[in-house]
């Protein structure tokens, strides 16, 4: 698999088998070679297609570009799902739908790097609790997308909050919780209908208290491991060492096959498939970690096994090591002010996001919550105000990076979305006013140039299957 060029002939079993090439000059005389075996790396391909959109010009808005720029009295033109033009003077082409935006603001859509919508959906009942594969602490073989229930009404609430893309993660019970999936926030019949085309996978890992609490008591596995922070770290390291061995076995298979030998591929291991993909740089590590000292240890584990951590999630103590986070190029995805719900969240401060920003490190505002995801703009506003009170000069335009381009970078989708730039996906939000105000609402949310949410048009307010025929169906939410 893994180190060789892609081979495209796939069988529905998920294994791609390619007829042995005739170029077997190195083959020992008389040895007959079997077929080369490679692994299909995309067995659940995205079936996302943009909703129907129109050629649309939004004009006279205050525009934040998501990269730190702000333009007054701006216009933005969306065509074929892309941002065609924006700036001070953008004429309306023939046939364009023109939306008057006077007094309103336009921003890139919000990207939430940490959501459990669909895997811990509403209603939050036992039957829908699909986010943690509890039983053993190392489960990189499970994929969040196999748990995502597209009928979670939380997705539609998030649209009303201006969220256009989001990463759905497994929970944090396990050291390795499984693969995440990045979605465009549009309704669909299956998770594949929502999958962000081409977005890399993430791997959820978790530091600290949660794996200890879940396993240390022996209730959820017989080994009682991990039960300590050092047990956590031993668990990560052994798994990475196993992944290295797995990768070497596949590399050897590859070499031997090329040398013309008749060799069997290594036995496939779904856990190791994911971990080896991290080591190759194909999957991004998204690591739940609260405490500064634990993040510092994880940065060394990362170096020991030569992989990258894209972001520490929650990172309540990121402010204590903001310099190290900058140096290592790791983002911190944070709440504005949540704290104290467990010991490792006890040292939360309101200036966390602003201090990480000040240090030149990558700051992200995340939700981890079906209510918080509805008002991430307010969370950024609080963090901005707290930073200013601490004497930092941060503009609204800068603060919007925490909601769009920085999360896009952490997810590896920054070439497609996360900022207002010509040619990028037209994932934008038209706000009723200054989005740093509690009173401001998302009037319209666009994904790939199509209206997915319109506050003033009930035909553009999706209702989840679960809500149909129930009390409150189609009500204002």
């Amino acid at each position: 698999m893994m180190t060789t060029a892609k081979r495209n002939h796939r069988l529905s079993s998920g294994l791609a088998v390619v007829a042995a090439s005739l170029a077997i000059a190195a083959c020992q005389p008389g040895e007959k070679q079997g077929r080369y075996v490679s692994i299909n790396r995309d067995p659940f391909p995205s079936t996302y297609t943009p909703l129907p959109g129109k050629l649309t010009l939004i004009r006279n808005v205050t525009l934040l570009d998501g990269r730190g720029g702000k333009i007054a009295d701006a216009s933005l033109l969306m065509k074929d799902g892309k941002i065609q033009a924006f700036g001070k003077n953008v004429p309306a082409p023939d046939g364009a739908l023109v939306i008057e935006g006077k007094g309103r603001w336009l921003t890139p859509g919000i990207i939430d790097v940490h959501s459990h919508l669909g895997v811990y959906p509403s209603p939050a009942v036992k039957s829908t609790s699909d986010g943690n594969e509890v039983g053993e602490p190392v489960t990189p073989d499970v994929w969040a997308e196999h748990s995502v229930w597209p009928q979670d009404a939380g997705f539609t609430r998030a649209m009303a909050g201006g969220v256009t893309s989001l990463e759905i993660l497994p929970g944090s019970a396990n050291l390795f919780g499984g693969r995440s999936v990045v979605l465009k926030n549009v309704p669909g019949r299956s998770v594949q209908d929502m999958k962000f085309p081409g977005a890399p996978y993430g791997l959820k890992m978790a530091c600290g208290e949660n794996p200890k609490r879940v396993y240390g008591g022996g209730r959820n596995n017989t080994s009682h491991r991990p039960s300590t922070n050092m047990g956590d770290v031993a668990g990560y390291r052994q798994a990475w060492a196993d992944a290295q061995a797995y990768q070497r076995a596949w590399d050897k298979y590859d070499r031997d096959f090329k040398a013309g030998k008749d060799v069997l591929p290594p036995r496939r291991d779904l856990k190791m498939d994911t971990l080896a993909a991290v080591l190759r740089g194909d999957i991004r590590v998204q690591m739940h970690c609260y405490r500064a000292d634990q993040m510092a240890v994880m940065m060394d584990v990362m170096k020991e096994f030569h992989y990258r951590i894209a972001a520490f999630h929650h990172a309540v103590e990121a402010y204590k090591i903001a310099d190290k986070l900058r140096k290592n190029g790791i983002c911190s995805a944070m709440w504005a002010d949540w704290w104290g719900f467990k010991m490792e969240a006890y040292d939360g401060i309101r200036e966390n996001i602003a201090f990480v920003h000040k240090a030149g490190a990558c700051a992200i505002v995340h939700s981890d919550d079906p209510f918080g995801i509805q008002r991430l703009n307010q969370e950024a506003a609080k963090a901005l105000a707290d930073g200013r009170r601490a004497g930092l000069d941060i503009s609204r335009a800068d603060a919007w990076k925490w909601l769009s381009i920085n999360p896009a970078r952490a997810l590896g989708i920054e070439a497609r979305t996360g900022s207002i730039e010509v040619g990028k996906d037209a994932d934008v939000v038209l706000w009723s006013g200054d989005p740093f105000s509690v009173y401001t609402k998302a009037d319209m949310t666009f994904v790939d140039g199509a209206v997915v949410w319109d506050r003033h048009d009930r035909t553009h307010q999706p209702v989840a299957d679960f809500e149909l025929g129930q009390v409150g169906e189609g009500d204002v939410k």
Partner: protein, 420 residues
């Protein structure tokens, strides 16, 4: 943070050094005051505070001798806000740390449990909460063993020794699916037990007469407060049918009830208004998180207030009690009048929880819980410049601000005290 300290005023810096402080005389001048919740707007107000009480709030009022003057030009002044049904002071950490004094799993009896037995006014949550402008709270257990949440109380978040404002103010009862699950396994099983308790304590039935020499039952003692109107019943209910049961309880037993949670209360808004039953709710709850909350909507608070129901607000949770003004702001964004939303975190909870004779407005003689804000208090970018609880100026310091100051610049060993 430097600017915050300057804004808080030299007065407060001086107080910091001489803590604990005694109530003193303050004149807050030049700001815009709201004396009755979101109403009673007074421009260029002089707010006089003496001996812990409000003396007057007068436009361009003179500052008498002996008053420390605090310039509040361009600022907004309100009463300190009140958050409903928290567990403040009953535990530091949510999970896997200190004992959670809000729980009742191993209790013998649950109805009469008294949160004052677990209340710790030194909890770090209290400074964290009050420096954000929330100065009063009702406090009750979160339960665990069955549907009873013990006896609720009201506290002020000041630094005095008299922090319990109203002891045994209410009895908490959770009749939602959560209460039913722990309190009998189903609603019928739970209600059988609830009625048995009430009937036993009902003075009209005569069954409450204790036999001579019998041990006083804490539950019966607590319930007596309901029938004598010294306490009320706070009932957690979300589904419409459960809220109707709360109305029926009031009808049958005659005691005062309030609905807490109330996700679907908007569906019976007129009936609640007619029955004069207040609703304490979380304005952010707009998801069908359970089969009890299918009708949840962010418009709940607006609809109830418009129907004439007295509404107060829950915070998202106890650690986030300080986010109460943000919740109120979101209620406004969902159609509630600004004045009604401010009422819901000031005069309304004062009346609902029975402390309106001394807290909730900036009228003469009321406890001086006063907050000077640098803008609209419901806005997310606004924060308090100064906070007074019962006339005491609160140092704008918490464990969190101490951590902030320590890590403002990163050093090799921040544990050493640094000279400012």
């Amino acid at each position: 943070m430097r600017s915050a300290i300057i804004l808080a005023g030299m007065v407060l810096c001086a107080l910091l050094l001489t803590a604990p402080v005694l109530a003193d005389n303050y004149a807050i001048t030049g700001g815009t005051a709201y004396t009755h919740g979101g109403r009673g707007k007074v421009e260029r107000a002089t707010v006089l505070i003496s001996d812990g009480k409000i003396v007057s709030v007068i436009p361009d009022g003179k500052v008498p001798d002996g008053y420390e003057r605090i310039d509040a030009r361009g600022k907004w002044i309100t009463v300190g806000f009140m958050v409903s049904a928290t567990s403040l002071g009953l535990g530091e950490i949510g999970i896997s740390a200190d004992i959670n004094d809000a729980r009742s799993e191993k209790a013998k009896h649950t109805l009469g449990l008294d949160p004052a037995d677990g209340y710790n006014p030194d909890s770090t949550l209290i400074p964290v909460t009050r420096i954000e402008g929330v100065t009063r709270a009702s406090v009750n257990l979160t339960g665990g063993k069955d549907m009873w949440l013990g006896q609720g109380m009201v506290v002020n978040l000041g630094r005095g020794t008299d922090t319990i404002d109203r002891h045994r103010a209410y009895i908490g009862l959770d009749i939602s699916e959560h209460g039913a699950r722990t309190g009998g396994g189903s609603r019928p099983a739970m209600w059988d037990a609830i009625r048995a308790k009430f009937d036993a304590a009902d003075p009209r039935t005569g069954r409450s007469q204790r036999k001579k020499g019998a041990e006083p039952d804490a539950d019966v003692e607590a319930l007596r407060g309901l029938f004598t109107h010294k306490a009320f019943l706070l009932v957690v209910a979300n589904r419409t049918s459960d809220i109707r049961k709360v109305m029926a309880l009031k009808q049958r037993y005659g005691f005062d009830v309030i609905v807490a949670g109330g996700a679907e209360a908007w569906r019976v808004a007129d009936d609640l208004a007619r029955a004069r039953i207040p609703v304490v709710l979380n304005p952010l709850q707009n998801l069908p998180r359970s089969f009890d909350e299918l009708g949840a909507t962010g418009a709940n608070a607006a609809r109830l207030a418009r129907a004439g129901v007295k509404v107060a607000f829950l915070a998202p949770d106890t650690h986030n009690a300080r986010l109460l003004p943000q919740s109120a702001g979101n209620a406004v964004a969902m159609g509630m009048r600004w004045t009604d939303a401010v009422d819901a975190i000031s005069v309304n909870p004062a009346e609902i929880f029975g402390i309106a004779d001394h807290y909730g407005t900036l009228e003469k003689g009321m406890d001086a819980d006063v907050v000077i804000w640098n803008g609209d208090p419901l806005e997310v970018m606004t924060s308090p410049d100064a906070v007074f609880v019962k006339g005491q100026a609160i140092p704008m310091r918490s464990r969190q601000t101490a951590l902030r100051d320590r890590y403002e610049t990163l050093t090799r060993s921040p544990q050493y005290r640094r000279l400012q």
